[in-house]
């Protein structure tokens, strides 16, 4: 992955290598088998090729839209209302212990 590019400098290539797909999958916390990587990488390149046309369509003077309706700080009244009980909140958990979500180890041995 290239380092942070400051301006709108478009990347010169629009293809993702198999290794890059593997790296992206790792960032997205998805294990991918070799067969899946072989299958996915070319498909992603076809998609990327088709969406690359968007580069250069809008000039620097065009503001971005992240949301279609103009909304500013939305607050609601701070009213007490019933929330989930601990049992309800834990009802879908894969593992529960002492009324808590039980998770695998978070830290490595060396940490």
């Amino acid at each position: 992955m290239p380092e942070n590019s400051e301006s709108s400098g478009a990347p010169e290539h629009t293809t993702i290598s198999r290794d890059e797909v593997s790296h992206l999958a790792d960032l997205a916390r998805i294990e991918l088998s070799d067969a899946e990587l072989d299958h996915l990488a070319p498909q992603l390149n076809v998609i990327l090729e088709s969406i690359a046309s968007i580069r250069g369509v809008a000039g620097d003077d065009v503001p971005p839209t992240s949301h279609t309706l103009p909304l500013t700080n939305v607050f609601r009244d701070d009213v007490v209302r019933p929330g989930l009980t601990a049992e309800e909140a834990l009802s879908g958990a894969p593992e529960v212990e002492q009324q808590r979500f039980k998770v695998p180890r978070i830290l490595g041995d060396e940490q």
Binding site: L44, R55, V57, A58, G92, P104
Partner: protein, 518 residues
């Protein structure tokens, strides 16, 4: 006439007049589901007991003269992407297999509050990613017009259920066309409200700046009745619009007279032509002609940036989805897969479990889009892709603003083709994406739309649809024009399009081909 073939408005009248009961018509629809759903696969879960209990409660209210709404007692199906307390909600994904939400989405709370018995949950592409339901982890739904074909997607289950008379009403969600495109290819009605017009609380997010729930029905009037139940401000959704619901019911009733005198209809040059099936275009042109005869003025106009809408959508959507779907981490709910051993021999860490769970729990299309989104958001590519897409989104929005200066509504074919064969496009992402060519611009700019059946394509005898778009918060316009076009076409055909659908093999045909409605 059996209750399943009647519209929700007719059923509501029959309930009000005491000619039938909610238990009777809920049971009739459950029977119909039992009869045909093995072949159709519109439902992922059927709540027989719950639906009948709600129906009995509704009958008690009606008997006491205390109906909660016009639709009190009318059964409904809910897309599986919407949280239903006490009823499984899988979003069509293995990662949520067996998940039973401890809370209701606001739209579900509104259905319960209006007294509608919930028949069950409908099939969909996994996390609403797709245009055919083939990306459902639980297998595809089938199109009632031809069981070898897709019912569209992602809300193909809701559309198929309504088209096959399993339910008079259903809820869909539309992120890039998932309500409107299935409506077009099944001969039903699908309405996408203005973004923010219907609460997203409890709707499992795909792309939260596009997602919008709305009605799936067989008539425009039914869609308006349902829209009024669903719509309105919700303090639990910060993007919910704090304004009265547009008067869609009144508009649908007014539109039914078929008079469009003085209305300016914009035909968008970019939403037609190349890539559109000839039969789809032919039916569209006939619809425009009918509306012209009914007094509308046709304005041909151009929205030059619509040609970039698909690319814009497929950058912003994966970006939002990759972030939204990070919540499926195997810790608090859903699937957990624990790999045997980590690389270094230590017991698997939370991250190892996450990777293995997401590998096993997500299907191909979800993985494609998460990886694409991760790419689009990564440093070095952010400005060129995601940042650029957000700017083009502005340009698409400006195109709409300019177009609505020239016309009151915009019209186009809803989907470029009729229903395709199951398996035809499932491993060709780009071919699948093209199905939403005409519907995506509305999601980019948040405007409301509806799809109305426009006939059958000459090539294959399958349903086609016309899409009507209006400015944000002018949802009433799409209902008025939709109801008018529907009335004009029904008059022309001598009956509803669905009356011409070939019955499912194991089903007593609703009406045989060519048989006109009285």
């Amino acid at each position: 006439m059996s209750p399943e073939t009647r519209t929700a408005a007719e059923l509501a009248e029959a309930l009000e007049a005491g000619e039938t009961t909610s238990v009777e018509l809920t049971q009739a629809h459950l029977d119909r589901i039992a009869e045909v759903d093995a072949e159709l696969h519109a439902f992922l879960h059927v709540d027989t007991e719950g639906a009948l209990r709600m129906a009995a409660e509704s009958d008690a209210r009606r008997a006491a003269g205390e109906a909660w709404s016009a639709l009190d007692g009318i059964p409904i199906a809910v897309k599986d992407v919407i949280a239903t307390r006490g009823m499984p909600t899988t979003c069509g994904s293995r990662i949520l297999e067996g998940w039973v939400p401890p809370y209701d989405a606001t739209v579900v709370a509104r259905l319960r509050g209006a007294g509608l018995p919930i028949l069950g949950k409908t099939n969909m592409d996994e996390f609403a990613m797709g245009s055919s339901t083939e990306h459902s982890a639980w297998g595809p739904s089938h199109n009632p017009w031809d069981l070898d074909r897709v019912p569209g997607g992602s809300g193909g289950g809701s559309a198929a259920a309504v088209a096959a008379y399993e339910s008079p009403l259903a809820i869909g969600t539309d992120t890039g066309g998932s309500i409107r495109q299935p409506a077009a290819v099944t001969g039903t009605i699908g309405g996408k409200p203005t973004y923010g017009g219907v609460s997203r609380y409890g709707l499992v997010s795909l792309a939260n700046s596009f997602d919008q729930a709305g009605p799936v029905t067989r008539t425009v009037l039914d869609a308006a009745l349902l829209h009024e139940v669903l719509g309105g401000h919700d303090p639990l959704d910060s993007t919910s619009i704090d304004e009265p619901v547009p008067a869609v019911l009144e508009a649908a009733r007014r539109g039914a007279d078929g008079d469009l005198t003085g209305l300016r209809i914009g035909v968008v040059r970019e939403l037609g032509g190349e890539g559109y099936q000839p039969g789809v275009l032919a039916r569209f042109e006939e619809s425009v002609e009918l509306m012209t005869k009914a007094g509308a003025e046709v304005v041909e106009l151009s929205c030059p940036h619509f040609v970039h809408a698909l690319a814009t959508y497929y950058l912003i959507l994966p970006a939002e989805a990759s972030s939204n779907l990070a919540r499926f981490d195997a810790m608090r709910y859903g699937l957990r897969v624990t790999p045997d051993t980590a690389d270094n021999g230590a017991p698997p860490s939370a991250e190892d479990v996450m990777r293995a769970t997401r590998e096993a729990g997500f299907g191909d299309e979800v993985k494609r889009r998460i990886i694409l989104g991760t790419y689009a958001l990564s440093s070095g590519y952010y400005d060129a892709y995601y940042g650029q897409a957000q700017k083009v989104r502005t340009l698409v929005k400006r195109d709409f603003e300019a177009a609505f200066g020239l016309a009151d509504v915009l019209v186009s074919p809803t989907a470029p083709t009729t229903a395709f064969k199951i398996g035809e496009k499932v491993d060709d992402p780009l071919a699948m994406y093209l199905n939403d060519l005409a519907t995506i611009p509305a999601n980019l700019s948040g405007v409301p739309g509806i799809s109305v059946p426009s006939g059958l394509a000459d090539e294959d005898g399958l349903p086609t649809g016309v899409q009507i778009l209006a400015p944000a918060m002018a949802d009433d316009r799409v209902y008025r024009v939709g109801a008018a076009l529907e009335a004009l076409l029904v008059q022309e055909w001598g009956g509803r399009l669905l009356d011409r659908a070939p019955g499912l093999p194991s089903v007593e045909p609703v009406a045989t081909t060519g048989e006109a409605q009285p």
